[in-house]
């Protein structure tokens, strides 16, 4: 049995990540980033756009081996990922897209519940080209959970959705992460959403990116009221601007 012991937590240490820009000069995007996240908890990476959030996520997913540092994925390392764009296979139906992510040897798993929670029941036979962005995002989320992840990565899964759809999807996400107890790392630029969903917040600096402020939030997540979110938000904004000023001086 998997216990929530030390072995299961997520550890991400990126000493340095450099990429070659178009004109051939090396650009350091991440330097000295250290992140630890308890097993089963939900962490949010918050940072200005262009600070390398997606780069960090790709490294965490094991999709980019070209960096100095190390990663320890939680649990058995089964990964579920929701990319910023849904990245569905347009030539496969919604159901096939979801099923293809099932762990090997478990291709006939019952997905009724997952599909029910995400409201995809009547769209299973459709192709991604026929879906709205909201439905495509839901399919991508369903696929990530179908992989039965120990480790879930979400890259801005709510961008360019209208507020009502995004709010529903957030609730569904909270319900699913609670039930599956996947260790989740969520990348966003939206502080309020991060506060609403997370157990722990990680604020990123500008390039080269590192974590400047870290903050645990009191449970339970997902049900924080508007006022609570706003007051935590104000507090965090002050902390972050102070830390940014300090690091600029130093």
């Amino acid at each position: 049995m998997q216990t929530a012991g030390d072995a299961a937590l997520l550890e991400l240490c990126i000493d340095s990540k450099v990429y070659q820009s178009a004109d051939g000069t090396p650009v350091e995007v991440v330097r000295g980033l250290k992140l630890r996240l308890e097993a089963g908890s939900f962490g949010a990476l918050i940072g200005p756009s262009g600070c390398g959030k997606t780069t960090i996520l790709k490294i965490a997913a094991g999709l980019d081996p070209d960096f100095r540092g190390r990663i320890r994925a939680p649990g058995e390392g089964r990964l579920g990922i929701v990319f910023q764009e849904p990245r569905l296979m347009p030539w496969r139906t919604v159901e096939q897209n979801i099923r293809l992510a099932l762990p090997a040897g478990d291709t006939s798993a019952d997905l009724t519940e997952l599909i029910g929670v995400l409201g995809l029941g009547s769209h299973l036979a459709r192709y991604p080209g026929e879906l709205s962005l909201g439905l495509a995002r839901r399919t991508a989320i369903a696929r990530a959970f179908a992989a039965r992840p120990d480790f879930l990565l979400l890259d801005e899964p709510f961008v360019s959705l209208d507020e009502a759809v995004a709010a529903r999807l957030r609730d569904e996400l909270v319900a699913l992460t609670r039930r599956t107890k996947a260790t989740t790392l969520f990348v966003t630029h939206d502080l309020d959403v991060a506060i609403q969903l997370s157990d722990r917040l990680f604020f990123l600096s500008d390039r080269p990116t590192r974590i400047i402020v870290e903050k645990s939030l009191p449970p339970p997540r997902g049900v924080r009221s508007r006022d609570v979110v706003a007051s935590i938000g104000d507090e965090m904004r002050q902390l972050v601007s102070r830390a940014t000023a300090l690091s600029a001086d130093g």
Binding site: L63, I81, R87, W91, R92, A101, Y127, E130
Partner: protein
């Protein structure tokens, strides 16, 4: 409907000109039709067509398989592309006739040489098209497949092949027509049977009725293959695309 009408007009023009000219060198549609019927009854035409068709299928299959492998490798690996590209350029610019002569001289006047000659003629075209397709593969879907630990087989089947379908369709379409044209030349030069051989013999006798009846029969056969095999396959592969309204 328009197509049938258009073909009927073509036949009518042919019939009128043939009737006006009244020459042994331009038989009318009726004469040619009668010859085709007689040749079918005697079993001669089905036999010769089967010989040609078998060669078409073999050389087409060889060219496609080798071309897909080489094209994919060249599209995915810059090193492979740099090394193999000069070979490809030589191959592309090699006249079909030269390849045919080389294989007949080096391998001998046999079936292997005939099929190989045709396959080698078709090969560079497949490589070029599939290379473009492999270059256009979406790296984001690759990442997705890697993140979800797709097996090697399901990556090929669900991610790579569907993206290559338009390229496969393009080169099999153009391929089929190139291949059967070259097969006829190969047969003319060094085989004792097949439509190309019959056309060669008919040419030496100036037997235009024979030439027209075999040519037309083979065109019809290829249209049937196109309409009942290539197009339905393509439609099936493209059923996920939204049809234009």
């Amino acid at each position: 409907m328009t197509r049938i009408y258009s073909l009927a007009v073509l036949m009518a023009v042919w019939a009128v000109i043939a009737a006006l000219v009244q020459s042994r060198l331009l038989p009318g549609p009726l004469t040619v039709g009668a010859t085709i019927l007689a040749e079918v009854r005697s079993g001669e035409l089905p036999y010769q067509m089967a010989c040609t068709l078998a060669r078409v299928i073999c050389s087409f299959a060889i060219a496609m398989v080798l071309g897909i492998i080489a094209g994919y490798a060249m599209g995915r690996s810059k090193t492979a592309d740099r090394y193999a590209d000069p070979w490809l350029i030589v191959l592309i610019n090699m006249p079909a006739l030269v390849t045919i002569i080389f294989t007949y001289v080096w391998i001998g006047l046999n079936e292997t040489a005939a099929i190989l000659a045709v396959a080698v003629n078709k090969l560079p075209n497949v490589i070029v098209v599939i290379r473009e397709g492999a270059r256009a593969l979406d790296p984001e879907l690759d990442e997705m497949a890697k993140a979800f630990k797709f097996t090697w087989f399901s990556r090929i089947r669900h991610v790579t092949v569907p993206q290559l379908v338009p390229y496969l369709a393009a080169c099999s379409r153009s391929g089929l027509s190139i291949v059967w044209k070259i097969v006829l030349v190969v047969e003319l030069l060094g085989r004792p049977n097949g439509v190309g051989f019959v056309l060669g013999s008919a040419f030496s006798l100036f037997d235009m009725t024979q030439i027209l009846s075999y040519a037309i029969s083979f065109i019809v056969l290829m249209l049937v293959v196109e309409g009942y095999l290539v197009q339905p396959l393509e439609r099936r592969a493209n059923r996920w695309r939204r049809r234009p309204a």
